[in-house]
């Protein structure tokens, strides 16, 4: 398990290749990458990501450990940047490896859902109109509910 919180950029391709190369017997590798995107109303000048040093690494590690308890994962990787980012910069990535595709997909979605609402990061967007903190969305909070359902009902509903 590899958890990194850093100000510097990362190379998505190199990280993905390194992650894949260190797996053995895993048939499925999933990655998710979050990218700074432009706003609907005004061009984004930059995004500032604040975090809580100390707690951030703990929170991410806990989320990755929870995922490894729920799915038979070979490995998991989380890289999350903080500081100042420009449009189209990569914000973060997760990678999961498992024997079967469904486990790798579900674990990656789980990592993202918890990382979104339970890891101490806050984003501020700056445009020509000024700067504003990104508001948490109810849809992201709701996304956590499905993971708190008994897994049998997720399976019955076709999720697994």
């Amino acid at each position: 398990m590899d958890i990194r919180v850093q100000e510097s950029a990362f190379d998505l391709g190199a990280e993905t290749n390194a992650f894949a190369a260190r797996q053995r017997g895993m048939g499925a590798i999933v990655t998710f990458t979050g990218v700074v995107r432009d706003l609907d109303d005004a061009p984004l000048r930059h995004m500032q990501i604040e975090h809580y040093p100390g707690m951030t690494e703990r929170a991410l590690r806990k989320i990755a450990e929870d995922a490894a308890e729920r799915w038979p994962l070979g490995d998991a990787l989380i890289i999350h940047r903080h500081g100042r980012l420009a449009p189209d910069d990569l914000i973060m990535m997760v990678a999961t490896a498992a024997r079967h595709r469904r486990d790798a997909f579900e674990a990656a979605m789980f990592l993202m859902d918890y990382l979104k609402s339970r890891a101490p990061f806050w984003k501020k967007e700056e445009t020509a109109h000024g700067a504003a903190w990104v508001a948490a969305q109810q849809v992201d909070e709701d996304a956590l509910e499905v993971w708190e359902m008994p897994s049998a009902s997720r399976t019955r509903s076709g999720f697994s």
Binding site: Y52, M92, M112, K116, A119, P120, W122, A135
Partner: protein, 81 residues
């Protein structure tokens, strides 16, 4: 006890961290104590439903006890990813 503020809570209160001498028994007691200090605290904590709190770097609720706590942090809902 160290009290930390992040994002707009930090901006409203005007500092990222401070040391507070308190006998507050729960997070909510601490919030009430801080609100009585100054308008900027009162404003920052006016709607605790819009806030999240961590005690010693673990998310908890506003009823959490503070006995033995070294670090309390207040911040808005998180927006990672």
């Amino acid at each position: 006890m160290d009290v930390l503020y992040f994002a707009w809570v930090r901006e409203r209160i005007g500092l990222p961290r401070e040391t507070v001498e308190t006998r507050a028994e729960t997070v909510r007691d601490l919030v009430d104590e801080l609100r009585r200090r100054e308008g900027r605290y009162d404003l920052a904590f006016s709607d605790t439903r819009a806030l999240r709190v961590a005690v010693d770097q673990e998310l908890c609720d506003f009823d959490a006890p503070l006995a033995g706590a070294r670090e309390v942090a207040f911040f808005p809902p998180m927006t990672g990813g």
